[in-house]
Symmetry: C2
Subunit: 333 residues, 2 copies
């Protein structure tokens, strides 16, 4: 294992110390339990938006804390759910009197722990709405999941629901917007290489030098199929068909197309992928009205990518375009 | 070789097609010869700012074309200098009557070709100033270089000189600001792994499973020393000492600290690196007044990082903070 770390057990703490040192204008970091909190939280009268999950997916979620996106993020150890304690602390820290939305990716540990945290918060009089993300079309159940996994759509949900909260929409409305994003968003991922969790010290899975895995999860969970590496046009075709036919997306639809790198894929390849996605959708009469290309929900140093499509309407477009100021996504301010 | 590409010889063209499809609001892409041009170029009365170099370092340079940064970028084949033809086309396309600055990284091919392009442009009456970037403290001469290599400081120069041009400062002043950035900026890089140029099909160099290379160049050129991988605190100490003692940076100095990923390094590790850089500089009384953390000048999928320090004064701070709107760097707008 070659990594830019000190001790494996200190990676998350030291990363968060780096975040705290780098971005005091955006966030404050609380340790033991670890929570990344928007610098000016709680914002009075605004719905608080929190998410969390295992570390190793940066910039998600800690890099998305700030104006127009999350109010707090709960980072677990690498690929390990955060504790109810972290989520409860985050919920209290961001409650400005208008309630709190929990964005929960559909992994068994995350779901269970966020439920416990929501119960604890409600017992103290904080209104909490939970919104599940389960957008991964690759597999029905998975290694850490009953039902579909929550993947790329999470990033889009955090941006869009964050903008709705910034407009001071009430709790039920912010939760409804977030649920609409989940209803309208679909994702599929693939990997060329594995990744190594620091505490494990060896690759999560083995992938032969000429093979790829289609439908991979963000922790390296098995996907749909292993096969020989193909030209990217064929890879994008396979994945896009699975995504498009799931809702289904139809001719005339307007979409946000999100090409996400898994952490170790160079940007030059992500633009080659985007070029293929664009051609695929044009041929089906589906119009890309917004795009996002880069490493946003990653799996450590894994090489690979995911394709997310989100069906857009006027409200979602307006919320997507609204200003955002975080370490991982910024525009308009 | 596992890559998300079709044919190796089509990578750059297809990447640029992806850029053109993704960012028509920011840039237009001209093919044969390839040039990425700011959508509203030429801007009348504004100095035009162009750069270029081999592809494979994305988002540099094409991702930095837009308001407040570059007016055009000339992408060569992967790790191959662009042609004088590309640079001449770019120079003409961005000339708004106030002259053009060429930002040239110090590699033999880039220097020679930019000189030819400048001569061609001057023969057509366009005023051109060339600014060399040679900020890499690792080695004096290198595989493709007489003198020091141009690396991380290039990104900061493009931002800062871009802001000066946006203010409509005259040609000599924009060039002077760019030269100040080169005088005040120093960088050193390291690699944990090699990278594979698509057309070559095999890794540029071999690095044993337990070794790293300190002082690596952005094309995998040899650095100062190969050694066993060490804890990141020791790696950062070695590199930071080399950077700090070069100008030298002294107690009381204000700096921009830029921790750059080589393309395959996960963000979680870059923040662990930043934490160490921050501690190192604090102990020496050097104050970080701005920072930049992420993958900005990359070497395909290489795992590794570079540390750049830029001594800041009031004018550089103001220009750094000015609005920028590009695919790879954006704030204030």
């Amino acid at each position: 294992m070659k990594k830019l770390i000190n001790k494996a057990e200190d990676v998350v703490r030291e990363e968060l110390q780096g975040v705290a040192a780098a971005h005091p204008d955006l966030v404050r970091v609380q340790f033991d339990p670890h929570v990344v909190i928007r610098a000016d939280a709680p914002v009075q009268g605004k719905v608080g938006l929190i998410s969390g999950g295992g570390s190793g997916h940066e910039p998600m979620h800690g890099g998305f804390v700030g104006m127009g996106m999350l109010d707090a993020a709960c980072p677990g150890e690498v690929f390990t759910s955060p504790t109810p304690d972290q989520m409860f602390e985050a919920t209290k820290a961001v409650n400005g009197g208008a309630g709190v939305v929990h964005i929960v990716k559909n992994y068994t540990g995350d779901v269970m722990n966020f439920e416990m945290a929501a119960d604890l918060a409600r017992a103290e009089g904080v209104e909490v709405e939970s919104v599940l993300v389960d957008d991964d079309v690759a597999v029905q159940d998975s290694l850490y999941t009953a039902g579909r996994r929550g993947v790329g759509t999470t990033v889009l949900m955090e941006k869009i629901a964050g903008a709705a909260a910034e407009e001071k929409r009430p709790l039920a409305d912010v939760a409804a917007v977030a649920r609409k994003v989940n209803d309208f968003g679909r994702t599929m991922g693939m990997a060329l290489t594995s990744c190594t969790v620091p505490a494990a010290g060896k690759p999560t899975f083995d992938l032969p030098e000429d093979e790829m895995e289609i439908g991979i999860g963000i922790h390296g969970e098995p996907g749909r199929e292993r096969m020989k590496v193909k030209p990217v046009a064929e890879i994008v075709e396979m994945m896009s068909v699975a995504v498009v036919e799931d809702i289904p997306f139809a001719s005339g639809d307007k979409v946000l197309a999100f090409v996400n790198g898994m952490g170790g894929t160079p940007l030059i390849e992500l633009y080659v992928v985007y070029n293929e996605v664009n051609k695929f959708l044009q041929a089906r009469g589906i119009e890309i009205v917004r795009n996002l290309i880069g490493n946003y929900i990653t799996s450590l140093e894994m090489q690979g990518m995911s394709i997310t499509l989100l069906k857009m309407d006027d409200d979602l477009l307006k919320l997507w375009d609204a200003p955002v100021k975080t370490a991982g996504m910024r525009w308009g301010v």
